[in-house]
Subunit: 452 residues, 2 copies
């Protein structure tokens, strides 16, 4: 698997869970609750700033489930808490995931209440997974959904992920880079993400490089000599004066000074790009591209494009990296069946749908027109979105995808979205997701029973 994540980030993470999962596990164990449960992972409501979500993170769930084990060290720590008995701790040593997982393929647009993933397994197993698989699918779905907007705003220009330094931690630095690439970003500055996921890596110079030279001219000359065809950062002192220096170097050194572009990183980027372009063109440097970075998000990118500013590519960092306008989703992992019996939660505003489910997506003339959310064994028009990716704890071929496969799917699937859903502003109407009559009736019956 070329796109397998770093071992160090997904292994030995059995304790990366909330304590209550383990206290519940011991209770299930003592009380003999060992029948099969179904849990469903979904987003209750989309943030106002998102018209669709791009499902992402499944690969990390599967690789985590394949390797999930409690070490002696883990068990010793749990013992030290004084909450767990010897019988239970002994059984944890032989814990392994033996269940089934059904999921929407990564790179598929999803909407409120649609299961992204369902787990069918003995209750203890299905329960324990909650915290970690939410942590992973949440992060990557947040990241892919944000990046899809930036890529859309940039039209056909390149977008490079510059987020590592302010993304939340090292794991997110990798996983978000993966999700961004799935969503259509061109590449990343994060070298380890490039290595682990075969994502193209980009980067040339920072301000510090320019600063250690007595003058900018020598910084530019030396860097272009070492990296012919490079991109020079021009805003350390004065961007327009830096362009004059580049023109002078080109005229003086000829073929010994070759660059492919310049990067601007401060001020009004659109205005600065116009002035930089004009200066470059006046010297015949038509082939030198302009790359813009600095505080950009999809709105900043869209503004530059709307103003027809001559920017050929974007470096997008922090605001995409932390998904600044919507840093979290109302994602939950809820019990929907136990021992073949439907289960729901009826807390006000948090009612859930019962049972194992399927989503059918209808298309007309190359556009998605509506989804039907139904029981997993119902048959509806359209194509089913959830597919089985693990059986009896083992990975199925359906989950053997490369990141390129996922990236292609995302591009194809997003091209099917109704136009208004792709805009950056909130769509006037949400995408239609209907409950099947049968599923609606099952939910109503349970609500009535519990509220009686």
């Amino acid at each position: 698997m070329p796109n397998q994540p770093a071992d160090s980030f997904n292994s030995n993470l059995a304790l990366m869970t909330d304590l209550y999962e383990l206290t519940m596990l011991q209770a299930y164990d003592q009380l003999g609750f060992d029948r099969e449960a179904v849990f469903s992972l979904f987003v209750r409501e989309l943030p106002e700033e998102r018209n669709f979500l791009l499902a992402c993170g499944l690969e990390d769930v599967v690789s985590y489930l394949e390797g999930l084990r409690f070490s002696d060290q883990d068990v010793a720590y749990l013992e030290s808490l004084g909450l767990f008995g010897q019988d239970f701790l002994h059984r944890l040593r032989s814990f392994a995931f033996t269940g089934d997982v059904f999921a929407v393929p990564e790179g598929t647009p999803v909407f409120a209440n649609e299961p992204i993933l369902e787990v069918k397994a003995p209750i203890a197993q299905a329960q324990l997974l909650e915290s970690f698989i939410m942590n992973q699918v949440h992060l990557q779905t947040v990241a892919a959904s944000k990046a899809a907007r930036v890529v859309h705003a940039a039209k056909d220009r390149n977008v490079v992920d510059f987020g590592l330094r302010r993304i939340h931690g090292a794991d997110a630095g990798l996983k978000a880079a993966r999700a961004f690439y799935a969503a259509g970003v061109t590449g990343t500055s994060n070298v380890l993400a490039g290595k682990l996921y075969s994502i193209p890596v980009y980067g040339t110079m920072a301000h510090s490089y320019v600063q250690i030279f007595a003058d900018e001219r020598e910084a530019f000359r030396s860097f272009a000599e070492i990296y012919p065809g490079t991109i020079l950062l021009i805003d350390t002192y004065d961007s327009l004066r830096a362009v004059e220096t580049i023109i002078e170097l080109t005229e003086t050194l000829g073929e010994d000074f070759s660059i492919s572009g310049v990067r601007i990183d401060s001020s009004d980027l659109a205005e600065l790009a116009v002035n930089v372009r004009r200066k470059l063109d006046s010297a015949g440097l038509y082939q030198v591209k302009i790359f813009a970075s600095g505080g950009l998000d999809e709105h900043g990118v869209a503004r530059i494009i709307r103003q027809n500013a001559p920017v050929d590519g974007f470096g997008v960092g922090t605001k995409m990296g932390v998904s600044e306008d919507a840093p979290y989703l109302d994602m939950v992992y809820k019990l929907t069946a136990y021992a073949d019996e439907d289960k729901i939660k009826i807390s006000p505003g948090k009612e859930t749908l019962p049972g194992q489910k399927q989503v059918y997506r209808l298309e007309e003339n190359g556009t998605m027109v509506g989804d039907v959310l139904c029981g997993h064994d119902e048959k509806q028009d359209g194509r089913p979105l959830l597919r089985k990716v693990m059986a009896g704890g083992a990975r199925l071929p359906e989950s053997q995808e490369t990141l390129e496969d996922i990236r292609h799917r995302a591009a194809r699937e997003m091209s099917l979205l109704p136009e208004p859903l792709r805009y950056l502003s909130p769509a006037a109407e949400a995408y239609p997701v209907h409950l099947s009559e049968q599923l609606a009736a099952r939910q109503a019956a349970l609500l009535e029973k519990h509220r009686a």
Copy 2:
């Protein structure tokens, strides 16, 4: 070191860097730039929603720097990019950090432009670190600064971190839990964070536990039997009806049914708490505490406290976990000296201060009254904040702190903050940070030189 972070999260991370750090490194190498540089890590501007920041993350920087090495695999990947020559790749194999690090101790309040950390090392070494140390200090400072507000809002009530499931990734799940605890949070639900950092762990049951039982009564009875003195989650179906069940169980089972509290997790928490308290008290269950969770942040906590709602503790998850109102800081790592010469960046609005620095903090009657930002060898009134934590690449005793030490410092230091800075609303006046005359003159001279 009891609080050493997980090996798996800080080792083998030499490639967790932006590509441009490595292209610059090769250029420095080829051009013979090997003199000592000073880089300064600081926040340019505080978010509107923060009156102070709580510095955090140093321990991970030190442990990363101690172990920083490029493996054969790392070098092979870099070779595959076609950007790097054999000489440089060969030298990377023996790369090690041999520099000095100066830092503000973790748990210290800091303000705009004050160095949190400074690195003094041969330029290549000091450069390479940028991406990873920012990634770590940024995350933990974001997290500690947010948690400090939640803890303040909760007054003397407990606050438990419930964030793992929606925090961005596994590394942040651990590091944020650490930062939250440093800032005064009582504990975490994250078991691995508990194990790695000796943080108290908390948690009892989720909705799914209640749901698998035919009735809530049996769910409560069985759980309290296994975990006497536990906290029961009461909002799966109807919170007030659940309290009636608890009262009935207490009356029927006597000492065989003992709980210490109930958790409410939906609806208007303040109003619900009042009604739950009334019902509990009417049955004489005065000792049963009420724990509230569900969509809380510092403002939600403050509202509950302001309404005098009888809530004894808070579970705070997502909004603290992603620092929802301020998910990033304008933190940068800038070259300030090379070969004993002052360096600055003069990009409009992004001007930096030159040289290695110190911050002196003045107190009067147990309150901080102002800081002076000056050259590292200047002497000012007050106490200096930056201290040497690594020398010649080795950890100094000054950085050998336990998380408890840091937590105590944070509590002590925050008690010195001027009152208005501790409020949740933006302070009318920012905390006064003055430049020393000497440092201001050095900056002015450089600005004049570059703008001439």
